[in-house]
Amino acid sequence: MKKQYLLILALAGLITILNGCLFGGHYKALVVTGQNNHNWKASSPILKQLLEQTEKFTAEIIKTPEKGGDMNTFSPDFSKYDVVVLDYSGDSWSEKTKSAFVKYVKDGGGVVIFHAADNAFPEWKEYNEMIGLGWGRTEKDGPYLYYNRANNKRDEQKIIDITPGKGGSHGKRHELEVKTRLEEHPIMKGLPVRWLHGRDELYSTLRGPANNMEILATAFADTAQGGTGRNEPILITTNYGKGRVFHTVLGHADQDGGPAMECVGFIVTFQRGAEWAASGKVTQKVPYDFPNAVSVSLRTNFKEITLEDDLTKIPTYDLTKSTKYFVNLQNRIRAEGKSPNKLLEFEKMMIKILENREATVDAKKMLLHEISWMGSSLSIPVVRELAKNQELKESADYAMSRLQPLN
């Protein structure tokens, strides 16, 4: 009995390891927090949740002493981790901890700099090298970096500005227009190249050494919102020694995270950035609910909307209220339509709603149009039935003319 149990455990362990090898590894992450001029008590648990959601990370949170506390007591063994996520801006670490961190990165450790962590340690030279650009830096640390604004993205250029002055500012919070600058970078590959980020505070006029640094994406700091009128770097990578650093300025946390953290654009770039920092690769799929140039996309409670959620909402569908759940279904079909079995599954679910007497006319119309191209003979009975309904006849005819062409 005991032996069998051990065998099962061993097998389970082996499967986990195999799983890790086959599906992009399993990484250990450490979220460092405890002091911040931002709402770290809200953001840190969210960051841990987001990492673990990918099923690629196990994550721990470590808190430094409170402000003014004895920083000598903070000396984590960074070398145990594949990636260290900094949600920290506060007292300087001990020299011992600082040099341990530098060694960790130089030896190939991954780092994620989250939002206000680029406010931290302005006097720490090595840290400035790691983050590339930061808040509260001056001309002695390096230039301002941004992309200018033009009507055509083609004409937007990276500007290196050595004007003396303080780094760091932001306008009012607003939805941000994001543009990818390095489409082929593993973190960005496959994402829409333009998207709207949920309401956030846009860090602007950051400056720093910017060595071995790449700007993956910028966001437009709208002058109407008190912004600079420039495309400000928001996703940055640097190489420091053998280490990789991913720096996201997004994610200014409200009490419960709020739209800046609920934004699928923030979530996904954070998750992909963390994997890249840990391994140099990104194996995560782009989710179907990623935002785009016309649509912000938020995940309430940081959970992806499931197919079941969509199927529960579609029958109550009222065009004037929201088309979101129907569009979700459409996007799922587009993303998974390659598989005939998957299409058949979708069709069966759609037939159920078409047969549902409680489902709204708007819902049925939408589904009839969709099923017209992806349905099979399975759909014909219910479409015929709905053709008898005055309100649905036209949509049913539409579907039938494709499902069963006259010739």
């Binding site: 055509n152 993205k153 083609r154 543009k179 489409e183 082929e184 829409p192 190249v193 333009r194 609910d289 990623f290 935002p291 785009n292 140039a293 016309v294 649509s295 996309s297 065009l319 004037t320 209220k321 929201s322 088309t323 979101k324 569009v327 979700n328 459409q330 996007n331 079909i333 587009r334 993303a335 998974e336 339509g337 390659k338 299409l343 149009h369 017209s372 191209w373 992806m374 036209e394 949509s395 005819d397 539409y398 003319s401 494709r402």
Partner: protein, 438 residues
């Protein structure tokens, strides 16, 4: 050949004289009796316009400038304000008040005796009205993209050919000097054997949410505006913005396919054929009435192995719009107001007498149409080519909708072994509208 075209020309003219004399003597303005360098009215091309919104009015204005050759007699639009404005424009040119207005193209085609018509409508109306006008044996200046579906496009081509009409597509880039030069350089091997092509089109999509149902303005015949498209209540979206809704348009992709894909295929010598394999990915608005792709990116393979990538230009490595051909010896990019090459010397190359030359138009794109109406020659943007240009965009749309790799037979114009994709070659028409069978 000369005999034949002269004869056809003659017959056409005789008919014009006859109809002019017998049925419509009232439209001949006193100012147009062959004075002041103008042709006598009976020799002028009698034109009408269907769809006189912004694009249609623009086309008509250009034709009106050819006052010596053209006489406008009537205009038609489902928006009476559009029709009234267009009539005003015609009357000002004709110095009378005789231009007739219609709200229904069927009545317009039935009552008017015209030589030619310029048509600019939302894409979902192209199939019905282009074929109806062709079946009335009217020469047509028709806006791109040729059709909303490949099936509609083929029906239009067949009707135009069967009726022997002169057709000019509004893809005016074909008459542009830099586009023609680019095509000639590419076709004559100045960048070597072509390996691949990129077409960069404008970023797509808009967001509008779902506006509330509104009262239809008195001047707009909403039922007729919708025509064969699904019946929906009016939400304030009609003119111009129809291009953001899939029932009427494929968005920026299909709007611009008629321009830059057209040029790209011309350079490849594929303008009367098409790719054999298409696959790609679109990004769509997540909410609301507008549902055309915001981003689109698809790849087409031709039988000779050449690949064509079509995407909104923000996704392309150099963010270039227009067509870029990559050959073994260099590249050429052409867009509106731009012609660049890997080596600027390529652009100074002279095309020899015995090499491939594009069609030369002594006038502009609109003038070329009028010349051809008279000569019965093929225009610079014939209907078959317009059909093949938009077909590439529409196949890309099908690949993105299904998420599948589409195998295409450009000769038979059939999707190979894929029922689902085949269904998307058409869009069902709402009764009582039906496209005449091909």
């Amino acid at each position: 050949m000369i005999d034949k075209s002269t004869r056809r020309d003659f017959l056409k003219r005789s008919a014009a004289v006859a109809t002019g004399a017998m049925i419509l003597p009232q439209i001949i303005p006193s100012t147009a009796m062959g004075m002041g360098g103008k042709l006598p009215p009976s020799d002028r091309i009698v034109m009408g316009a269907i769809g006189v919104g912004s694009q249609g009015t623009g086309n008509m204005r250009t034709f009106l400038e050819h006052v010596k050759e053209v006489q406008f007699a009537a205009v038609c639009d489902v928006d009476s304000k559009h029709a009234d404005n267009a009539k005003k424009l015609v009357d000002e040119t004709n110095k009378n008040t005789d231009c007739r207005t219609y709200g229904d193209y069927r009545e317009f085609l039935e009552k008017e005796k015209l030589d030619a018509v310029c048509i600019a409508l939302p894409d979902h109306w192209h199939g019905l009205i282009y074929t109806a006008a062709a079946n009335k044996k009217l020469d047509i200046y028709g806006e791109k993209p040729l059709a909303r579906t490949i099936y509609d496009g083929r029906a239009i081509v067949s009707a135009a050919k069967k009726n022997n009409i002169v057709w000019q597509t509004g893809s005016w880039q074909r008459s542009g000097e830099n586009f023609r030069k680019a095509v000639e350089l590419v076709r004559n091997g100045r960048i070597g054997k072509i390996i691949r092509v990129e077409v960069g089109l404008p970023d797509g999509g808009r967001g509008v949410g779902t506006p509330p149902v509104m009262e239809v303005p008195a001047e707009l015949n909403w039922e007729m505006w919708l025509g064969p498209a699904p019946k929906v209540p009016f939400r304030g979206i009609s003119h111009w913005n129809w291009r953001w809704i899939l029932d009427y348009s494929g968005g920026q992709l299909t709007d611009w396919a008629g321009h830059h894909i057209d040029i790209a295929q011309w350079g490849l010598g594929m303008e009367r054929s098409g790719p054999v394999e298409i696959s790609g990915k679109g990004v769509y608005p997540r909410e609301g009435l507008y549902n055309v792709p915001v981003e689109y990116d698809f790849n087409c393979k031709y039988a000779n192995g050449i690949e064509l990538r079509v995407a909104n230009s923000s996704q392309l490595p150099k963010k270039w719009g227009g067509a870029t051909w990559f050959g073994e010896k260099g590249w050429i990019n052409v867009d509106r107001g731009r012609l660049v090459a890997s080596d600027p010397k390529i652009l100074d190359e002279v095309i020899g007498e015995n090499e491939f030359h594009t069609y030369k138009t002594p006038t502009n794109h609109w003038g070329n149409f009028l010349d051809c109406v008279k000569s019965r020659e093929e225009t610079i943007a014939p209907v078959e080519i317009a059909h093949r240009s938009i077909s590439v965009g529409l196949l890309g749309e099908i690949a993105m909708t299904t998420g599948q790799k589409i195998q295409w037979d450009p000769v038979k114009e059939e999707v190979i072994g894929n029922t689902i994709a085949s269904r998307l070659l058409t869009r069902p028409y709402r009764q009582p509208w039906n496209l005449p069978t091909i």
